[in-house]
Symmetry: C2
Subunit: 144 residues, 2 copies
Amino acid sequence: MSSRLTYTINHLATALDAYADAVLTARWGITISQFTFLAVLEEGQPTDVTRLAECLGVSKAAVSKRVPGLVARGLVQTATDPAHGRRVVLTLTDEGLRLAREAGDLLEAAFAQMFDGRPELDLERTHADLLAMLDTVLAKAAER
Amino acid sequence: MSSRLTYTINHLATALDAYADAVLTARWGITISQFTFLAVLEEGQPTDVTRLAECLGVSKAAVSKRVPGLVARGLVQTATDPAHGRRVVLTLTDEGLRLAREAGDLLEAAFAQMFDGRPELDLERTHADLLAMLDTVLAKAAER
DNA sequence: CATATCTCAGGAATACTGAAATTA
DNA sequence: CTAATTTCAGTATTCCTGAGATAT
């Protein structure tokens, strides 16, 4: 087990995702990536495959393949846009919206509660530091 | 762009990996996951598929499938263990060892340099905070 | 010695990507 | 012609199976 900062960040991200995934699977039978899909769609709906792929940070092909499954589950609706050729407009169904909100609230509450017993942790300060690091890394990446 | 801490952690992990990947690809033609494989193998060699999978945090199948490619590139060697029937012992070749060390040094230097211009960032403090968070999350996950 | 458990590698299934093809 | 989606071929990953090793 290495103690490099970059490793710790990756481990923490993985652990948080795994925890959220366990909660979501047990309570609603959806995975973290399905929840993220719904949550991001809720923020931006109505939207299309291209824009949602950008927001999720995956390819259009990946979004395109996942839509039929979510439609079959009754969580997402597709529609055409008469103005634009092949555009597929995506929206949440009522059930999809309800699930996205309930699950989001529960995860947020669980996360807050998790750090109740750790008063030595200043989450806001840490968050600010991480945002500064993110900023630095993205700036460095843009140079290349 | 949400401002939730969990999102920031994921974004930072992704950005760091992408940066490292760009450096590695440009200089040595290997991906970040291949470099991680070599670096972790270097720490623990000689080892076998099962132990390496544990260290990498992936399944044994994933390791098993990546070995032939690395052997073909002349970076990894496989051997049998007379004492244990099907065990496959993994070691780095001389070239693999050289690459792992050079690339590790370069990435470490690049990372340190990246934050030279940000004296307001206390990396050690942030690292300690993240380790505490990781600890908390893993403890919570173990409860379930 | 038998059988129960564990370890290990690989096959099937799933998910993602970039590039090319398709279609409104 | 253009813009958006889908298909294709390749890579990566996990889940699951079965062969073989270990232990009671």
